[in-house]
Amino acid sequence: MKKHLDKAIIIREALKELPSPARRLFMKRAVTLGGLSLLSGCTVTDEASAERMLVKISRLNDDFQAWLFDPNKLAPTYPESMITKPFPFNAYYERDKVPLVDGDDYVLEVSGLVADKHSWSLDELYRLPQTDQITRHICVEGWSAIGKWGGVTFSTFLKRIGADLTAKYVGFKCADDYYTSIDMPTALHAQTLLTFTYDGKTLPPEYGYPMKLRMPTKLGFKNPKHIVALFVTNTYPGGYWEDKGYNWFSGV
């Protein structure tokens, strides 16, 4: 009985020390069933240290994946006949909440460790050399779908703006408050495209108009849609889902 009480107090105290309420909620759910009992034999005796341990391992998994990532290894490409129709809509909100960006007013802001910080209009971006590819989109939930995206190779764009290619991260801000960031080796991968079309037509709003960064070497949530700003940095920028607990690197 005494022991039980002590444990409850320890957990309550530990939860107080967690900084953000969102994070606290996330881990409260993550360490529910069995978490405590499974680990009671180890030094991990409360939810806060279980959280720290899991997050630490997730950071180590980032390093492991960066090591495993082969910049020259290409994701498989597929014939037109294998394109998934209709390609699924996926976001953290319903279809009717998709941001509607006005292409005429639109500019892409560029900042951070780049030589040329001028903002890009869509016409300017469309004039860059365009290519397309049919690849598999793999969602963190487990489902996958094959689609065809067209646009400019991202490394071409990064070189055009004089980005510091030795920097660690490229971060993205989106019209719908979404944000994410990727490692430079993936940004420079031959199949990483800044895309403006889906299946040969202008990217529709639900797939990310006016542009989506398409990376067949990353899980779906790492592919930002409705990008309005990007920046090159050495400071870890995090991401919408990453800050809630999804693994940051999330390579495939």
């Binding site: 993550a30 998994n61 495993l68 939930e141 996958s144 607990g245 390579g251 495939v252």
Partner: protein
Amino acid sequence: MNQNHKTIHPLWLRLNHWINLVALVIMVLSGWRIYNASPIFAFSFPKQITLGGWLGGALLWHFAAMWLVFFNGVMYLSLNIVSGRFKTRFFPLRMRDLVSDFLSALKGTLSHDTLAEYNAVQKLAYLFVIADVILLVLSGLVVWKSVQFPLLRELMGDYDNARIVHFCAMAALVAFTAVHVAMVALVPKTLILMIRGR
């Protein structure tokens, strides 16, 4: 030979066994929660018996415990092979023994007098589960890293198929565990053996 004084399961094996149990329980329960995010078949696992609370939490558990499964499995296989235990405990495995041991197991007349040796059905069951966990790891690598392991990806029949293989291998592991636990319940001294070694 007096069995009670001879260690049948060395300490490293017993550690491997119990670490493996903890690691695989975490893997299976968090795996069920990950499955629920996008079920392959027309059912989901009851949330109460899954680990992680939500997809992100389940993924953290899954990708943490995988290291335990991996390193523990590598230790188990290497020590087994180096010590010669693999060869002496699991072989020879003859079809004739398998059939007769299986029939006497069904009739309840299979003797467990010598725990120092596995009967043919045990040999097959343990070899099966070793192969099954290897298949779980390989199919899991394709689900996790289909671009980085092209050869494995082709062997599994691309990403979506690797998920099905991963699921079926999990189901086989759970089925093995059910039978394994039932057998231990029938012959409780095998549980003592896996704890004390003799």
